[in-house]
Subunit: 347 residues, 2 copies
Amino acid sequence: MSKTTIRDVAKRAGVGVGTVSRVLNNSPAVSDATRQKVQSAIEALNFSPNPAARRLSQGKTMAIGVIVPFFTNPSVVRRLQGVVSVLSVSKYDLILFDIEKVNQRDMSLRTIPQRKLADGLLLISLTPSDIDVEQFALANIPVVLVDAYHPALSRVLVNNVQGGYQATKHLIDLGHRKIAYISDYLDDPFNSPVRDRFTGYKQALAEAGIAYREEYHLQGEHGRSPARHLTHTLLDLPDPPTAVFAYSDTQAIGAIEAARESGLSVPGDLSIIGFDNIEAAEYLRITTIRQALFESGVKGAGLLLNLMETPAAEPQEILLPTKLIDRHTTAQYGKKQLSGQIAALQT
Amino acid sequence: MSKTTIRDVAKRAGVGVGTVSRVLNNSPAVSDATRQKVQSAIEALNFSPNPAARRLSQGKTMAIGVIVPFFTNPSVVRRLQGVVSVLSVSKYDLILFDIEKVNQRDMSLRTIPQRKLADGLLLISLTPSDIDVEQFALANIPVVLVDAYHPALSRVLVNNVQGGYQATKHLIDLGHRKIAYISDYLDDPFNSPVRDRFTGYKQALAEAGIAYREEYHLQGEHGRSPARHLTHTLLDLPDPPTAVFAYSDTQAIGAIEAARESGLSVPGDLSIIGFDNIEAAEYLRITTIRQALFESGVKGAGLLLNLMETPAAEPQEILLPTKLIDRHTTAQYGKKQLSGQIAALQT
DNA sequence: CTGAAAGCGCTAACAA
DNA sequence: TTGTTAGCGCTTTCAG
């Protein structure tokens, strides 16, 4: 079974290999009679064509490469789920690449396209450099960015400036004046959302006539634990903030833990707002900014599929909105309220 | 660039294609001098070999197929992350297949192997039928099961009977006698863990001299919301249980919601124990049975890689232990305690 | 150590 | 309509 080729089928059906190939590819130029013969030969032999050979001869891989950084990041996973949901019902196979290390990044982004492993590429939360983009062009492979931006590439992204603004505004409306922002490193060239949300944060502050305080903006590695530490230093400030806007829900969780460890109630003593609206945010009732994670993957995959059919002259852009989800980790400034407390996170 | 072939390189280096191929494959039978020439030609031309051609000629795909059901299930995702972590540093590409529908299941399991897309297959939480296994054998492709069992296939699995026993025993030790089990459908032929945990549940009950009560075992679709409904029917029983063992943490969360909606405190009025120890369980402080999700993926991928190198006569088995993680959703029977309450899930 | 040539299994152009 | 044949780009004998 393993070694049945198109030739075996041809022989058994008493036709030429070309005809078998035509049947395989649903060419209309085959009489029903022969098509029948070939079909039954195929079934009798339990034959299925070797994709490698097909790929080689037509120069298409029928696969889409999806590149993600830090596959453990819940929001990346959520986007990927969106991608998978559309690709798994398409005719394309999905090849997954995970880029954990920064130096891996450059290497992979360069080699993956030129390896001609895929007919299209989807980058999730990964901003390519100009050199990378050049490679894509050289390899002549369609690329779509999800949650990342490059002027030359089609992308689906979320309005992060707006989201940062909404989060901060929400806190301001609640009466807070001392509002911190904890985030990933701002100077990471491949992470523009950090900067965008920061921009929104400062916009809201400025609009409300609140001076930006440098000590209220702390950066660190992404993750719960680093965020916890960041929040502790915030809380240890001589004049600590009364509210914190966390770059992600994951970091918001770390912030909540820190508050708890410091004996502070959330939101009674400290208001915390996250970003993303991952599942855990719902369970934990964290106030957050919703971005359409899953949908961004769906749209991205859809866009890529389109582009592969009919290439567009101009890069396309799909912009997804953000929305405040008001839950239980933010409260009016100065108003102690114990009921909303995150007891689940307390010892 | 896109069209540079091994022949171009050969020409430029002034050698034959065979030699270039040898260099590409690190054959020792090349003099340093020529190797140098070829190397620089490769770099000058920015050449990289076409994998489809390579695959065709050596009959290997250098890819591993990973098949998962319901990619949205958090524990499946966690296992997959383990798989990715090892595969992404291996020389194999990872082709991901998601099987959402049951009828998709049969189709895919049959066609994927014979498509010769991958040199090895990893099934996560998916039990193949005998017919599937036959196909694997026919295609002569190594397969490893993660969180699934078939006598003819290598696998890494968790001791679910033990886990079910531990969970139930924990509840019994706490003084509970009326213990429910909510789970996925028991008769799903492809989900043996449900049955295994059920076995453990009954064992613990029997050992403690507690009669098994049919009305205390409710089955439904997997997921938070179905579990919520199940728990409500449990709670509406004339003689409701005082503790529930949920097949998964996801379902435990649904159970907690139901308790909250019924005005019951957890664990004061109702003890709830989950299974898996997904991330959310930690945030929510849910008592649960830990199974090494990520690790199971790592081991599975490792095992497959081994098997591909050196096929084993006998199917291999790696058994991972379970462990009780005592958190805040279970308590001594009859002892009202409000402190551990899951306030985060309350209105 | 190296070049030439025969495939790997399939598609597509060309005849018939 | 159908059969035949020339590649697709690479690996791998087989000579030399």
